[in-house]
Amino acid sequence: MLKVSQIEKYYGSRNNVTKALDRISFDVEDGEFIAIMGASGSGKTTLLNCISTIDSVSAGNVYLDNKNISQIPEEKLARFRREKLGFVFQDFNLLDTLTIEENIAITLTINEYPPEQVKEKVASVAKQLGIDDILSKFPYQVSGGQKQRCACARAMVFGQSLILADEPTGALDSKSSKNLLELMGNINRENGATILMVTHDAFSASYARRILFLKDGRLFNELYRDDKPRREFYHEILDVLSVLGGNTGDAL
């Protein structure tokens, strides 16, 4: 469903070019749960931003459902984002003034979902994510894990085909992280949602089915989980990371 082909991204002036992404290509199948790993500055977030149309590529193409999104004009990108993409960020990015329920509902209202069905739709997603009891609360009244689950609900409530997660467990404690990752695994398995997650944390990555390793803007390695138990997959990831170098201290 997602095809990334030879994309490049440069920063800086003519004399001093930094290559953030260097000829990266990969495919994502429908219903995959993919993690992108790499040390700080390896280009993970830039890659995610290019896919999510928040940033533009310098060269190459990104296809989603066979549509070249690098060629969609700016005014249509907003529509594309709200219909196809769901976002989960490290710092939640919820609107403080809205309740949890409304934070989920805002995606629907932006998509001009029939107003009378909004409540019902939100309730069903919230139930699946286990946040149906806090719907009337404001973000500052709930825990980080609950906030992130709310962000997940927002990212999938309209049936977006691709969920993009940028360090979703970055601000959570280990228990909440585990909870959230299991939930994301569920969403992936049960709803068939495609998830692309950027992380530098081996534990988080071990929940994915496939891992892409980035180093200095280039694709360095690729790892499949297949039918391996998660623990074993986790150790494999650590092995790759140790070869990769960089900062893996916090992964252990």
């Binding site: 984002r81 709200r82 805002i106 209202t109 932006i110 998509n111």
Partner: protein, 648 residues
């Protein structure tokens, strides 16, 4: 180190609060220039009547200082709230509270001092403008002359010192009392509704609307006590209206889920609801200030009209003396011959007709004001003589006809009066109506409102109503000369109580009186109105712009979620409209009604028809919106530029 930090913060804040800063500069400009007028010897020497100017500008300055003080206090609160996290961090780093308070003090003093300095410079320019206006009112040639007014400068400085020190002192408590955690998380909490209970809120709303209607009713009773009660009722209305209104939004959307989830309503409503507490109060205060502004502007404009009309209606003679029963003007004449350079003069009688049919006819147009129980009559030769003196065109009076000379606003109804006049055994037909200014507004004038001009022999056969002396001079009559004549008048009354009452009118003196009234009443009114207006516009702008940082993040999230530009800019406009339009509506309604009834209360003839009153109301709103629109546009543009940065 700390002073370097505060200097940097002050310049940064000046950028953030540019509108606030400009308003403070304007305030300094106004305070300085108006006080310069008070202290200027040149202005004071224009007229003795300007002595009250000191008092009026003093009162106005008191109001202005209070309002600007509130603005400064309010803005500081806002700055503190917005920077609470910064202060919290300082505390966390171990900087003493006292030093943080000092830092904050210093920053604000720098802002105030810079504004004051600029204000003094621009104030000198505005002073020249005001001076030119005043000189024109007194019909004196304007020529540029600069005088540095030390007392005005010191007074402005003192006012500013007072404003800033009080505001700082009141705000100091807040930093002193807050806990670090409160400071760090202050900006995350949503505000609580002030009236949560639905029943209570509805009752409050009903009480509010009732008191609003009753208040307006009382305000226009033309009774000081009732009006004052009415004013308080209106203030109560405005306060409770916005509080119950803003608290009611949440309840409304709880009931109407469908409405909440359509379009951008959800976002707009929530961002307003999160500010219900302060929004309700801000909107009420702003609404009260705007009402006061509009009333001040409207009162100023209607008085301006009144003064202009007074000058028009009252007299066009340099000197006119009307005397009851006593046709002896010798005492006046001695003074006039000695002191005034008279170019022409005439003494004559006004006669009594033994019917009051014309008086009765014009009664309804003069609000039943009657100076005489009979129609007054003038001889044609006296009439032509007076017209000559005043430079009016020549008129003729054929045998068997009469002329009506009247106030301009009676010309229309009298043109339709076609009755014949019977005097003794003669019957006269109406020839024409003339309505040049002819000293007919008050007692002992050339009739009251109108006079019938008839052939000499017919008039002279009638009994005398009163006598008059009219003169034209080549130099304008001064206030001093007028007062000297007035002294003679008083003396005449004291020595001879049977002599009846004399009246003295003078075109130039009326002009000077009106110019002085203009300066004493309208200048301070506009001074206060302008300050009220810019302060309310600024508070609104600050309230909105200070949320900018929050809006910026929210709009970024919405944009990322795929909200289109149209969605975002429409949300922005709606948020904006709530703040700017809501407080204007009741202010415009209340003040329009007030101004309308104020104008109705003036003497008949001040406004020739109802359309002129609507013109005053319209002009008031136009002036108001012209100034307000500048602030709306400035804050909207700055908000848009900050929130939707890639605006094409």
């Amino acid at each position: 180190m700390l002073s370097k930090l505060s200097l940097r913060n002050a310049t940064r804040q000046m950028k953030d609060y540019l509108i606030y800063f400009i308003t403070i500069v304007i305030a300094a400009t106004l305070i300085f220039s108006f006080n310069s007028l008070v202290f200027s010897q040149e202005i004071r020497s224009l007229s003795k009547l300007l002595d009250t100017l000191t008092l009026m500008i003093g009162i106005a300055s008191f109001v202005v200082v209070c309002i600007i003080g509130w603005l400064v206090f309010y803005t500081m609160r806002f700055m503190m709230k917005r920077r609470s996290r910064e202060f919290g961090t300082y505390l966390l780093l171990g900087i003493e509270r006292k030093r943080i308070v000092n830092l904050f003090f210093l920053e604000n003093l720098i802002i105030g001092a810079v504004a004051l300095l600029i204000g003094l410079l621009t104030g000198n320019l505005l002073y020249q403008g005001l001076r030119a206006m005043l000189l024109r009112l007194y019909e004196i040639q304007y020529h540029f002359s600069y005088e540095f007014s030390l007392p005005a400068t010191l007074l402005t400085f003192a006012y500013f010192a007072l404003i800033f020190i009080v505001a700082l002192f009141l705000n100091r408590r807040k930093i002193r009392k807050s806990k670090i955690s409160e400071l760090i998380y202050m900006d995350q909490y949503n505000e609580k509704e002030l009236a949560t209970d639905g029943k209570k809120r509805r009752r409050l709303f009903v009480a509010s609307v009732i008191s609003g209607i009753v208040g307006i009713g009382l305000l226009i009773t033309y009774d000081a006590t009732f009006s004052l009660i009415g004013a308080f009722a209106i203030i109560f209305f405005l306060f409770t209206f916005y509080i119950s209104f803003s608290s009611g939004i949440s309840a409304y959307f709880k009931k109407h889920e469908r409405k909440k989830y359509s379009g951008n309503t959800l976002y707009v409503f929530r961002s307003l609801a999160s500010k219900v507490g302060s929004m309700g109060i801000t909107l009420s205060v702003i609404s009260i200030l705007l009402t006061a502004t509009l009333i001040a502007v409207g009162t100023g404009l209607s008085f301006n009209h009144l003064f202009m009309r007074n000058a028009e209606l009252e007299t066009s003679h340099s000197i006119y003396i009307g005397s009851e029963e006593k046709a002896d003007f010798s005492e006046y004449k001695i003074y006039i011959d000695e002191n005034l350079n008279v170019t022409s003069q005439w003494q004559y009688n006004i006669y009594k007709q033994d019917s009051d049919s014309v008086t009765r006819y014009v009664d309804p147009y003069r609000d039943n004001f009657r100076a005489y129980d009979y129609d007054t009559v003038m001889a044609f030769s006296d009439y032509t003589r007076l017209r000559d003196m005043l430079g009016y065109h020549k008129v003729t009076l054929p045998e068997g006809e009469y002329i009506i000379q009247c106030l301009d606003y009676l010309a229309k109804p009298l043109a339709q009066y076609n009755e014949a006049v019977r005097i003794g055994d003669r019957t006269l037909l109406k020839r024409a109506v003339y309505y040049e200014t002819f000293t007919q507004q008050h007692w002992n004038g050339n009739g009251s409102g109108f006079i019938l001009v008839v052939p000499d022999e017919i008039a002279e056969a009638l009994p005398v109503s009163h006598s008059a002396y009219a003169a034209m001079t080549d130099e304008p009559v001064t206030m001093t000369e007028y007062e000297a004549l007035d002294m003679i008048r008083m003396h005449r009354h004291e020595t001879d109580r049977d002599a009846g009452y004399d009246m003295i009118y003078s075109k130039e003196v009326v002009k000077e009186q009106n110019a002085s009234l203009y300066a004493v009443i309208i200048f301070p009114l506009f001074y206060v109105a302008l300050v009220l207006l810019i302060v309310s516009a600024t508070v609104l702008a600050i309230q909105i712009l200070s949320e900018m940082k929050g809006y910026q993040n929210q709009y970024a999230v919405l944009h990322m979620l795929g909200a289109e530009r149209k969605y975002l800019s429409s949300a922005l406009r709606r948020q904006f409209a709530v703040y700017y339009i809501l407080p204007i509506i009741p202010a415009a309604v209340i003040s329009s009604i007030f101004i309308f009834f104020l104008c109705l209360a003036f003497d008949p003839g001040v406004f020739q028809d109802i359309a002129q009153i609507f013109m005053i109301v319209g002009a008031t709103l136009a002036i108001f919106f012209a100034v307000f629109a500048i602030y709306i546009a400035a804050s909207y543009v700055s908000l848009r530029r900050n929130i939707l940065p890639d605006d094409a």
